[in-house]
């Protein structure tokens, strides 16, 4: 019963992440919006799957995937944003596009 509620919450996150990709016209805001909302959706779905499958070897493996995603997904976003920053793109110049 709990996992159904968590899955419904994650649908809301995924749909708003998709809206956030197409709604803004500044590149940094798109980076902020979509990737962050998507990380929250990922964590929510994995918690729901752990609650559904109970305590066995399946849920231990899912916990491992969750720790892996919580470490590597911020690194991906950080390095995409850093390569845009070091290439000299500033906030004001991008808004007009």
């Amino acid at each position: 019963m709990i996992y159904k509620g968590l899955l419904i919450l994650s649908w809301i996150y995924i749909i708003f992440g998709l809206i956030g990709i197409f709604r803004f016209n500044n590149m940094y805001v798109r980076l902020l919006t979509s990737s962050k909302i998507d990380t929250v959706a990922t964590i929510t779905i994995l918690i729901a799957l752990i609650v559904k499958s109970g305590i066995n070897d399946l849920s231990l493996r899912l916990l491992l995937i969750m720790i892996f995603i919580m470490i590597t997904n911020p690194v991906n976003n950080h390095i995409i944003c850093r390569s845009a920053y070091l290439n000299g793109i500033r906030i004001k110049g991008e808004i007009d596009k």
Partner: protein, 86 residues
């Protein structure tokens, strides 16, 4: 039932993200779309593994995560140096 709806929603979300990848004005938009698709692939495999109650699919999910991480890291380091290989 709820798992099937979640999987269909994830596939639709991946197709919508591909549109962003095609029309994206800058390179970093395309990298962002690649990042989103890679995260959603991990999720799709994990949900399918729980739905089938098969533990081997979760291993494939972990290895897809590693491949996506290394790919995005190398591509963005390559762009950061201005496209030179050195």
């Amino acid at each position: 039932m709820f798992l099937i709806i979640t999987m269909i929603l994830l596939i639709i979300a991946m197709f919508v993200t591909i549109i962003r990848m095609i029309i994206g004005p800058t390179v970093w938009d395309r990298l962002l779309a690649l990042n989103l698709i890679s995260a959603k692939t991990i999720l799709l495999l994990a949900i399918y593994g729980v739905y089938r109650n098969n533990i081997l699919l979760l291993d494939i999910s972990i290895s897809y995560g590693i491949i996506g991480f290394i790919g995005i890291m190398l591509l963005s380091m390559f762009i950061q140096r201005g496209g030179r290989l050195k």
